[in-house]
């Protein structure tokens, strides 16, 4: 039996509550609020207490999907990534870099958001990058 608690930060609202995810044999089994979390000081809201539930939902997407003959079908990562990259290249070669747009995400980490905007600006060549801050 491998039991661990992993300190981390909540993925719901902007309070930034800290908690431990309880992990047993590779599965998250619970959430424990962190007393040293500066925002939450040992408390959590109802969403925070149950934050581990959606992570292991059977509804999670687990494989890349590609639209073929009108339907989304499971494909390998290589096929999905090759398709995405080649279509992005075709479209921006034909219509210019500003014919592509990117939504970054308030759900992703800082590091991932940094990479998305760097990708849009340096790899694709457009400043068409925005996220839900205005929504």
């Amino acid at each position: 039996m491998d039991y661990r608690t992993v300190p981390t930060t909540c993925t719901y609202c902007g309070c930034g509550c800290n908690f431990f995810l309880e992990v047993l044999d590779g599965r998250i089994i619970g959430t424990i609020p962190s007393k040293s979390g500066p925002a939450n000081q040992g408390k959590l809201c109802i969403k925070g207490w149950h934050v581990h539930q959606f992570v292991q939902s059977p509804e999670r997407l687990t494989r890349p999907l590609l639209r073929k003959n009108g339907n989304l079908s499971e494909v390998s990562w290589d096929e999905a990534l090759d398709y995405t990259a080649s279509r992005l290249k075709e479209i921006t070669s034909a219509h210019g870099s500003d014919s592509a747009g990117f939504f970054a995400s308030a759900k992703l980490t800082n590091e991932e958001n940094y990479l998305i905007q760097k990708f849009a600006r340096a790899a694709v060549g457009t400043n068409n990058v925005d996220h839900c801050a205005r929504l």
């Binding site: 992993v6 719901y12 040293s36 969403k47 539930q53 990562w77 090759d82 747009g101 308030a106 940094y114």
Partner: protein, 526 residues
């Protein structure tokens, strides 16, 4: 937030406007409870009787979209009674005279007519706020999601400056940001006009800096906002859209319009953790990893950079989002070779002045609040202590403007939208959480009992709600939380999606939609 969450509990007066704090930011609400215990005065201005209003010393229910008028009226009283902070205004601000000329035109009688708030209540708000040694403003989307969103925020800044309630502990103008890392996504340059750290894309110095850091040629054209990207898809100027961790089909106003736009894309890539309604329209769906499956950082509403740590492996074949981006970038011929998020953070610190002193070593423990410009800097608890970023704080002279859509004979009810305590945004996560879903499995329309009686609607009746954009069916909850003539709907539920109805009218400066005001008609469903 200009100030920190912990400081809220020591404010002598807290002015909550347009924030359903107990539902949307429960752990900030805790600080309000503590402040009340310590004797603080609590003012709540909200068209609904949200839970925090029940604790308030004074709750006013102003008409939807009349925030500027209300705030100007409060400031009128403060000036008239000489409750303003003269030395702060002289030393730290400019533009006061032009501002005062506009404020002079908002006497309480006139403001009462616009807002529905009595002159006596306007006086009491002014008195509570201006007489406190420290007064803190907390606001949320009830302030920003308007065609006058920027005006609303500037009016709050005016109020804080007028009374010297900025740049010191337990004061400030404090937006409660709705998403865990919306602050960070902005800080990281997830915006069309700025690089990381808000360095403008159309300023030669910053363009050169990033061209050299990234070894690439960069565009100096400001990019498109989300509403402009959707319009671009409609008119064919935008061909490819890559959406990560967002569900615009439900989260953007006027869903029918958004659906048409997304269907017009030659390439729609959606990277997400669930099969959202947006993903169902995609050409490619890439399974990303949840927060529990990756290392990294989030930046909360008080600018605090906090560690996120990997607890389990990504489920199935899903992959962390940074790895997916890196792989596509390499396929496009722009090489990326990061070995992990810590290496990316080192690059962020090198190019982002406010994150210059942030490193994973320093984030063990309570995190760091930016600005944190160098490795010895302790971080910044509250902003504008010795001066504003632009030097002097600028008063803005702002006139009240009506919302973009107002009620009429055909659409006689005002509708506003918001969150509930157990759900989050488009429900992608919370509705896949059995305990939360069980608490509230379906959406509802809040309606005042007088309107319900007039329309012959009983508690729980299925009604159809129609705006100029569309119709949805939903169950009724009869209540006194909203006043006669106003209805409210949460926007988490795809079966009764409020954003089918909302108005895609935008603030002209920041393009935020007017989710908080539209006109609807309600009828008993056939």
């Amino acid at each position: 937030m200009t100030n920190s969450i912990a400081e809220v509990e020591d404010a002598e007066c807290i002015f909550v406007i347009g924030s359903n704090t107990t539902s949307s930011h429960p752990l900030v609400a805790t600080r309000i409870f503590r402040a009340k215990e310590k004797g603080a005065k609590l003012i709540v201005a909200d068209p609904r009787e949200v839970h925090i209003a029940k604790l308030a010393d004074l709750h006013v229910q102003h008409n939807l979209g009349t925030d500027v008028a209300l705030l100007n009226g409060i400031m009128h009283v403060i000036l008239e009674r000489n409750w303003h902070d003269r030395s702060f205004i002289e030393e730290r601000t400019e533009g006061f005279d032009d501002f005062k000329r506009v404020i002079d035109r908002y006497p309480p009688d006139k403001v009462a007519e616009i807002t529905g708030v009595s002159p006596e209540d306007i006086l009491r708000i002014a008195e509570y706020y201006a007489s406190a040694g420290t007064a803190s403003i907390l606001y949320c989307m009830g302030i920003t999601q308007h065609t006058t969103g920027v005006d609303n925020v500037k009016s709050l800044a005016n109020l804080a400056m007028l009374t010297g309630n900025v740049g010191k502990e337990s004061t400030g103008v404090n937006p409660l940001r709705g998403q865990n890392n919306v602050q960070g996504a902005c800080d990281m340059g997830g915006l069309p006009n700025v690089y990381p750290g808000y360095q403008p894309v159309n300023m030669l110095d910053s363009q050169k800096k990033f061209e050299s850091a990234w070894n690439a040629t960069l565009s100096d054209r400001v990019g498109l906002t989300i509403p402009d990207m959707l319009s671009g898809l409609m008119d064919g100027s935008l061909k490819a859209l890559y959406v990560i961790g967002e569900n615009p089909l439900m989260s953007d106003p006027d869903s029918h319009h958004v659906e048409k736009a997304l269907k017009g894309a030659e390439l729609l890539v959606v990277q997400d953790i669930f099969m959202t309604p947006t993903a169902e329209l995609a050409h490619v769906v890439l399974p990303g990893a949840s927060f529990a499956e990756k290392d990294g950082t989030f930046t909360n509403t008080e600018r605090r950079v906090l560690r996120v740590r990997k607890a389990i492996e990504p489920v199935g074949e899903s992959r962390t989002d940074w790895e997916i981006i890196q792989d596509i970038s390499n396929r496009l011929g722009y090489a990326m070779d990061y070995d992990g998020p810590e290496e990316i953070m080192k690059e962020i610190a090198a190019v982002t002045p406010s994150y210059g002193g942030i490193s994973y070593d320093r984030l063990e423990g309570p995190g760091l609040q930016w600005p944190c410009p160098d490795p010895e800097h302790p971080g910044t608890k509250f902003l504008h202590k010795d001066g504003f970023a632009r030097g002097k704080g600028l008063f803005h002279a702002i006139e009240y403007q009506e919302p973009a859509e107002v009620v009429d004979e055909e659409y006689p009810l005002w509708m506003t939208t918001g969150r509930v305590h157990v759900h989050y945004h488009t429900g992608t996560m919370t509705r896949n959480s059995p305990s939360l879903h069980a608490e509230m499995p379906e959406g509802y329309l809040e309606m005042n009992h007088r309107d319900a009686a007039r329309l012959g609607i009983c508690q729980g009746d299925l009604v159809s709600v129609t705006s100029r954009r569309g119709t949805i069916n939903v169950k009724t909850q009869i209540t006194e939380r909203v006043r006669e003539g106003v209805v409210f709907m949460p926007f988490h539920f795809v079966e009764s999606s409020a954003n089918v109805l909302t108005n895609p009218a935008y603030d002209p400066v920041v393009k935020i939609p007017e989710y908080k005001v539209c006109a609807v008609r309600v009828e008993k469903a056939a």
